[in-house]
Amino acid sequence: MAVELKMPALSPTMEEGTLSRWLVKEGDTVRSGDILAEIETDKATMEFEAVDEGTVGQILVPEGTEGVKVGTVIATLSGDGEAAPAAAAAPVAAPTPAPRAEIAPPPPRAAAVAEIPPGTNMHSATVREALRDAMAEEMRRDARVFVMGEEVAEYQGAYKVTQGLLEEFGPKRVIDTPITEYGFAGIGTGAAMGGLRPIVEFMTFNFAMQAIDHIINSAAKTNYMSGGQMRCPIVFRGPNGAASRVGAQHSQNYGPWYASVPGLVVIAPYDAADAKGLLKAAIRSEDPVVFLENELVYGRSFELPELDDHVLPIGKARVVREGHDVTIVTYSIGVAFALEAAAELAGEGIEAEIIDLRTLRPLDTATVLASLKKTNRVVVVEEGFPVCSIASEIVTVCMEEGFDDLDAPVLRVCNEDVPLPYAANLEKAALIDTARVVAAVKRVCYR
């Protein structure tokens, strides 16, 4: 009785992978624990083990194949006699996790004013690569820049963002820390006070809660408390927001938390060009920066300008899509939902203007208000809790400074006001999606 071996999901967000190498061939007898193949995901290269014994039947996906979807049958295994139910790879070959963010390929990048010179060559790059390149370029440029965090060096980054940096810059500047966020955030902050330019990576911002005292009390307030004498030029970066099926403690957007603190700069880019240009700007800034990335976006590819020194201005929103009927204000992964919603709405004759805030503090209210003046309607899209959110802040700005331009109440599309549940259906119900954006836009357009 042949058992199908399926492409396993080796991380919560893995949708596909590369079958790098087969370590068995057809006809081989395998035992539980034998390594069958090496599979490369966007995070790491991992070994795929047999969980029971049997004989390798057919190998259906040859080694070197890229983009093998999770759940694809890659080989068959014949049971070893009648009684051996060779449930090989059963735990990992579980039903394909429904990726919650099924996003259409991004449209060509809207030309932000003067940010990227016309005629610049573009190439495709993932957000992960863009972030890594930003760090590497700044480390080459300034010997004071170093990166520290959990698994940033030898492991090559828990999410592969620091991949290759150890090789180029060595252990002095690419530093693995123990799992001790409070301590290493404090050490990074102290190093910044002493004149270095640390990049502190949090494996995710959920763990930065252990370190938030240093981010706020030590880093954000020092320049003010010292009358401008003692600076703290540090970047705290890492993935933020909900990933996929990792439960409440690993799924939270801290944008509103940090954006409420004077003394911090808070950046949350969406695409690769913004990720790179803004991370470079963050590393050069004399101020402490919280740089919020998104795990679900790391592996997505976008156009990246081929410039020697692509640095973008902090504190400037970007009009991602122009439109005249309604303004959608959003940031980070919310941009993806907004773009998808806008495409759908265009089919119904509603042209949405999309503003990617990019920087959450200081907030570019001028760009939001200018768009409001044009469209007279605003919807805020935010993958995060609704209460005391960036959305709340945008609503306030529209009320206080754009009231006369409003033709409808400003609506928020945020996650449900609950800790993020684990069950796939509940998680889906808790998180924002394109349909909710479309519905909110129709409401403010009275359609």
């Binding site: 409070y182 102290g190 190093a191 006070m193 030590s218 010292s226 600076r231 004399e286 201005p313």
Partner: protein, 358 residues
């Protein structure tokens, strides 16, 4: 209180030490040579610095009573020998110093102008933080004094970060990070110990054990009251030092600095000391007796001890009196400056939030 400095002085002959020779080597060296062989001139200088701190703090206490200083104000009276003994061994402007909220003494011991410190206490624009920091938040990057931190224990990893910077730049500098017996129970302190030892950072962790974490006596808040042993789990050598004797402190500092500058990683020093005044100005003083405080003042005062030693060495009373007079004048001048300086301009409210304009 857990242990009075008197007991610890007695204990110095038979100190509580670690079994591991490597961990007690510095303590052994200190026990063998407990006091720094200061010249008369050096001892006079230490005396003068301690007296400046004492008089400065007394005046700060008065100004607080008059309502000229607000909020929290933590005085260093009684602990002067610690800052002076340790920092006199540093290379000012090269080695970095960081401390908690009881920071006036450490600043004065690092040569920072008393006028700008006092003006900060009164919240004036001429203050070292332009009136925006106050007693607990003062800094002088020029002197490599990095604060002045109000969150108990936060300065310990920050200090490890400063030490990281010294090592990264290979500038030969050392960081001195002060904290109290209370802060010693904070988790982040041990995270910093671990990384400092792991990466062999050039740092001296200085626990100023004044017997009380606010109003909680050491023995009521700490399972291990011998704080110099708290680094044992991280293989950090400890030293138990009489913090009421400036020459003992300086002697210990020499040993610790030689070790740290030699690239051997961190040292943990516990200084047995005592604060005469309350934790802050609003201390009800219900947790200890008047007699205990009086005994410390009468029998263990670091300034009186230095004075007695100077007289014994043949320094004239006249000379000491003239030092005292000069310091009183210096402090009076600082207080006048602090009282008469202008408050920050209203526009200062919005400056220094961020360095750059975005």
């Amino acid at each position: 209180m857990a242990r009075s400095p008197r007991k610890s002085t007695a204990a110095a002959a038979t100190p509580v030490v670690d079994e591991q020779p490597a961990l007690r080597a510095l303590q052994d060296a200190h026990t063998a040579n407990p006091r720094y062989p200061a010249s008369d001139e050096q001892l006079l200088k230490f005396y003068e610095q301690m007296l400046l701190i004492r008089r400065f703090e007394e005046r700060a206490g008065q100004l607080y009573g008059l309502g000229l200083i607000g909020g929290f104000c933590h005085l260093y009276i009684g602990q002067e020998a610690v800052a002076v003994g340790l920092q006199s061994a540093l290379r000012e402007g090269h080695d970095s110093v960081i401390t908690g909220y009881r920071d006036h003494g450490h600043m004065l011991a690092y040569g920072i102008d008393p006028k700008v410190i006092m003006a900060e206490l009164t919240g004036r624009e001429a203050g070292i933080s332009r009136g925006k920091g106050g007693s607990m938040h003062m800094f002088s990057t020029e002197h490599k004094f990095y604060g002045g931190h109000g969150i108990v224990g936060a300065q310990v990893p920050l200090g490890a970060g400063l030490a990281f910077g010294h090592k990264y730049r290979e500038d030969g500098g050392v960081c001195l990070a002060y904290f109290g017996d209370g802060a010693s129970n904070q988790g982040q302190v041990y995270e910093a110990f671990n990384m400092a030892a792991l990466w062999q950072l050039p740092i001296i962790f200085v626990i100023e054990n004044n017997g009380y974490a606010m109003g909680t006596a050491v023995k009521r808040g700490s399972a291990e009251t011998h704080f110099h042993r708290r680094g044992t789990a991280f293989r950090i050598p400890g030293m138990d030092v009489n913090g009421m004797d400036v020459l003992a402190v300086r002697g210990a500092a020499e040993i610790a600095l030689e070790y740290v500058r030699g690239g051997n990683g961190p040292v943990l020093m516990e200084l047995q000391t005592y604060r005469y005044r309350g934790h802050s100005m609003s201390d009800p003083a219900k947790y200890r007796t008047r007699e205990e405080v009086q005994d410390m003042r009468d029998n263990h005062d670091p300034i009186e001890a230095a004075k007695a030693e100077l007289i014994k060495r043949g320094v004239g009373e006249d000379q000491l009196k003239s030092i005292d007079k000069a310091i009183r004048a210096q402090v009076a001048e600082a207080a006048d400056f602090a009282e008469n300086s202008a408050e920050p301009a209203p526009a200062e409210l919005y400056t220094d939030v961020l360095v750059e304009t975005y």
